[in-house]
């Protein structure tokens, strides 16, 4: 189990490099071109991230978050979910940058290795921006009736959210 977390990243880098060598790709200039596009997309998310992180910090400092957690904790206590994670559960399917902002907020308040930090990490890593994905994929082909896609996708998200809590609280991950 530990080996997975140690070796997976270097393995991936190795696979990418090797594929480039095998196909005789100009690896370095390719890397630079790719990194440049990463720079572009990183800069592109700054404006929305500023807006969202400001809003989330306000939400926490004003006492709104505390009110929400107090109100909802009888429900979340049932599955041993720390109430601070409720906003993440709601925002995760809606916006990628908003959930990144919430995870950052949790890390800076509780630390990445706290119970909250670990659940947030697993939740963030195992779910996707459902609404956005559905809109982009179906929108591009002009599909208006998406039938059951949203139900199935949200069921998967809910499973991911509940499992991330269970894995940390009951299985000690």
């Amino acid at each position: 189990m530990e080996a997975v977390s140690i070796y997976s990243v270097p393995c991936f880098i190795f696979i990418f490099l090797m594929s480039g060598f095998i196909k005789k790709v100009d690896v370095y200039s390719c890397f630079v071109t790719g990194a440049k596009s990463g720079l572009q997309s990183a800069f592109n998310i700054i404006p929305s991230l500023i807006g969202l992180m400001a809003a989330i910090a306000m939400f926490r400092e004003s006492g709104c978050l505390e009110l929400l957690t107090r109100f909802i904790s009888p429900l979340t206590d049932l599955i041993h979910m720390p109430a601070e994670l409720v906003p993440l559960g709601f925002l995760r399917p809606v916006s990628g940058s908003a959930s990144l902002a919430v995870v950052t907020d949790i890390f800076s308040n509780f630390g990445p290795d706290s119970v909250q930090g670990r659940i947030a990490s697993i939740m963030m890593g195992s779910t996707e921006t459902t609404f956005y994905t559905i809109a982009v994929y179906f929108g591009s082909a002009g599909i208006k009736n998406v039938r059951y896609t949203l139900f199935a996708a949200l069921a998967a998200d809910l499973t991911g959210i509940i499992m991330s809590v269970i894995l940390v609280q009951f299985f000690g991950f």
Binding site: S8, G63, P112, M124, V146, Y148
Partner: protein, 194 residues
């Protein structure tokens, strides 16, 4: 949707801050939150660029196509009605491989291409086929094997072992994916295409 969430969050915070007597702290939080967003982007800049750079090498080398060959047989189970030699199946597999490798920049265009190819086989335009629904459900579940952004975020906040969440993330992904797939199989019978 984000209009209401973002605007609502800020407005509500300001109103509540009056009652909790935390107007000053709330205003200060807006300023510090905005600053933190820039710090966050800067701290993630390195890993994001490193990863998109490496992805580009894989993209140029045709890594997606290489791995796609190996993944064709298991994916036929998910798309039983699709001809394995069709263009549509090819682009579906490539989209999934790009997602697994975390090549987000490549995955989205491939996915859009896949949906368009699937639409060519669609007898009733404007309504999603079972294959389209399955593809999109797979894409709304996270398939990424290495969550690079998350790991570097954990690292920059001083996690003892930033990558130690990979195993639970995989377990969680598999559970979510299983539920998603089972739901598509059950619901496709309830929501008929015709």
């Amino acid at each position: 949707m984000m209009n209401y969430i973002w605007g609502g969050m800020m407005a509500l915070s300001l109103i509540v801050s009056v009652f909790t007597g935390r107007v000053e702290q709330t205003a200060a939080a807006a300023v510090s939150g905005a600053g933190e967003a820039v710090d966050l982007t800067v701290s993630l800049l390195g890993i994001m660029c490193l990863w998109t750079g490496l992805s580009k090498i894989g993209e140029e080398a045709g890594l997606i196509r290489m791995i796609s060959k190996a993944l064709r047989p298991p994916l036929r189970f998910l798309f039983p009605k699709l001809d394995p030699d069709s263009k549509a199946f090819g682009s579906v597999v490539m989209n999934i491989v790009a997602n697994l490798l975390g090549m987000g920049n490549a995955a989205t265009p491939l996915g859009i291409k896949a949906v368009k190819h699937l639409d060519e086989l669609n007898p009733r335009k404007g309504t999603a086929t079972d294959e389209m629904c399955a593809l999109v459900v797979l894409n709304t579940a996270s398939l990424q094997l290495i969550p690079t952004t998350l790991i570097s975020l954990r690292q920059s906040y001083g996690a003892a072992s930033p990558g130690d969440v990979i195993t639970p993330i995989w377990i969680c992904e598999i559970c979510a994916l299983t539920v998603g797939i089972i739901m598509t199989k059950i619901l496709s019978k309830r929501f008929k295409h015709f």
